[in-house]
């Protein structure tokens, strides 16, 4: 069963079309990386899924039920923008309030469990306003985890986290998906981090889903390239440009050849033209590069 099924979703704000006939399918148990430029409609879609704003048209189904169904919504954990906490209250009291909203009887044990999950058990007595940005993000995740959710919708949850915070978050999310069967929709601009955990991707542009694929499909569609350096980069680029169809120079100063070829063939070809290769490697383009390419194609 699909955790989320969105069909022909449209949302307009006056004359502005924020989401334009969007289709989206998130399988149960997936970590779904929801990617798009600023203003592409990611947050609007997430807010519609969570019932915070109303769609102009289209359907949103969660586990086969309408997304407004109260029983299914009680099992959705959300972190959109910032966690909804009262600044003057302690982390513990904020958690107690959310637990009561969810109707959790004797919530203390569960609060301790979720705070431990996000490695925040030591901060329960801190006032929320005194917590750092990274701590607040983790508190937000902990609040979203209350009530044993089956679906987590996280909007930019790793923003503002340091390297260790990102690692913890990554471990927490992977554990939830793998060991607890929680479906996670996560939007982030930090594609390098997303690439490490996502099992599915949805790429949105101008309010429309332009591509949905699994991590394996992404892997297959990410092209392999050969990157190299020589003592005469200008001549190398010219010679490779004559023989191969797509040759580019990357930010690190390597010349990349994207055509299906082997490093040996390139080294031989350059050697025959009196050029010695000083460095050479083969790699695949990253999610970030794939995404940037995809965005360029649409322009």
């Amino acid at each position: 069963m699909n955790a989320i099924e969105i069909r022909n979703l449209t949302k307009t704000f006056g004359p502005k079309v924020a989401v334009n006939g969007l289709d989206m399918t998130v399988p149960e148990g997936a970590i779904y990386g929801f990617i798009g430029e600023n203003g592409s409609g990611k947050s609007t879609t997430e807010k519609i899924i969570c019932g915070l704003i109303h769609a102009s048209s289209g359907s949103v189904r969660l586990y086969g039920r309408d997304h407004t169904d109260g029983d299914v919504r009680a099992r959705v954990g959300v972190l959109i923008e910032a966690p909804g906490c009262f600044p003057g209250m302690t982390v513990w009291n904020n958690m107690l309030i959310q637990a009561a909203n969810l109707g959790i009887e004797n919530p203390e044990e569960e609060i301790i469990k979720v705070l431990k999950t996000v490695r925040m058990e030591g901060a329960a007595g801190n006032k929320y306003k005194n917590c750092s940005l990274g701590m607040k993000q983790r508190i937000g995740i902990a609040m979203a985890l209350l009530g044993n959710p089956v679906l987590l919708v996280l909007d930019e949850p790793i923003n503002g986290l340091d390297a260790d915070g990102m690692r913890i978050m990554r471990e927490v999310l992977c554990d939830l998906a793998e060991n607890h069967g929680v479906t996670i929709v996560i939007s982030s601009h930090i594609l390098g981090e997303l690439e490490k955990i996502a099992t599915h991707y949805g790429i949105i542009r101008g309010g429309k889903m332009i591509r949905e694929m699994t991590a394996d499909e992404l892997e297959a569609s990410c092209r392999t390239y050969v990157a190299l350096k020589t003592q005469d980069m200008n001549r190398t680029r010219y010679l490779l440009g004559c023989k191969y169809s797509r040759v580019e120079e990357d930010e690190a100063g390597y010349i990349r050849v994207y055509d299906l070829t082997t490093p040996e063939q390139i080294v031989t070809y350059l050697y025959e033209n009196n050029l010695l290769v000083s460095e050479i490697l083969t790699d695949k383009i990253s999610l970030e590069e794939y995404y940037i390419d995809l965005m360029k194609e649409g322009r």
Binding site: G51, Y63, A74, G84, M89, G103
Partner: protein, 284 residues
């Protein structure tokens, strides 16, 4: 395989939400400040008016002495006035001698500084309570896990009613203390103890008429507390004149029933409007 989701009954949902709202209200400093103010206010008013009684203010423009300031005749005057009687218990009519007295009193300091002004003050906890929900993101958390906006409206109405009722009761106690401190007579002229109890019950129940008004304004204004307060005071002004008529000192069971009916009517009607506002507008 289809997942099973536990069904949350209305009773269970309301219970948990009331628990949260009551906890929030009684852990916030604001409600204690307001209740304490309501307790102190009548004492200060009574003492000051009694101190100023008989003094003649000088008109700043003409330089001529004005009318001497009239103090309270009885300790009950700060709670309300006796209404002229007819079949409706004086609800819709202020005719006769008592009506004339009431009209005369309307320009008097003692008729302005009484319990009735609290119905404006009740807007403060309602507006700040609701705006805080939206400003902090609590509403976002809440409406994500709870699809039913009705729960929120009912819970807020009940909790704000309790808060308002506490303020009214605190003012009543303050009035008694003020009367004792100022040495005002506690003579019941034109009403008896039973009618006084009915008056207090009516005043408490009248809170339930004002709370839904302030609530609908607050949910429409969302995090803009200043706007909800401004609108609440404006809208509350229209109903201000009915307070002395609905809750005179010589109130009867009819007054209680009317206040209760008004509360139910306003609560249901404006509650439905609040619900609609929440359903039709963006919550973030």
């Amino acid at each position: 395989m289809e997942r099973n989701f536990e069904c949350n009954t209305f009773g269970r949902r309301l219970k948990s939400m009331l628990k949260v709202d009551l906890r929030r209200m009684f852990t916030s400093l604001l409600i204690y400040i307001l209740v304490a103010s309501c307790l102190v206010m009548p004492i200060v008013i009574t003492v000051m008016v009694e101190m100023m009684e008989g003094t003649t203010p000088i008109d700043q423009q003409t330089g001529l002495p004005g009318e001497p300031i009239k103090g309270f005749d009885s300790a009950w005057q700060i709670i309300g006035s006796v209404s002229g009687g007819d079949a409706m218990g004086g609800m819709g009519s202020t005719s006769g001698e008592a009506g004339d007295q009431m009209a005369e009193m309307s320009m008097d300091i003692t008729s302005m500084c009484n319990i009735n002004m609290l119905y404006f003050l009740i807007a403060v906890p309602v507006c700040l309570f609701v705006s805080d929900d939206f400003r902090s993101g609590y509403a976002k958390n809440l409406f994500t896990v709870r699809a039913k906006k009705t729960d929120y409206v009912i819970s807020k109405t009940i909790v704000c009613f309790i808060g308002g009722a506490l303020m009214i009761l605190a003012f009543f106690i303050g009035s008694l203390l003020g009367g004792v401190i100022s040495g005002l007579p506690f003579d019941m002229v034109g009403f008896n103890a039973g009618e006084l109890v009915m008056c207090i019950i009516s005043k408490v129940l009248l809170v339930s008429v004002f709370v839904p008004i302030y609530l609908v304004v607050s949910v429409a204004a969302k995090q803009r507390a200043w706007l909800s307060l401004l609108l609440s005071f404006g809208v509350g002004m229209f109903l201000f004149m009915m307070i002395p008529m609905m809750t005179p000192l010589n109130a009867s069971v009819m007054n209680v029933i009317l206040c209760l009916a008004g509360g139910v009517m306003f609560g249901a009607g404006l509650g439905a409007v609040s619900n609609l506002v929440l359903k039709k507008t963006a919550l973030v």
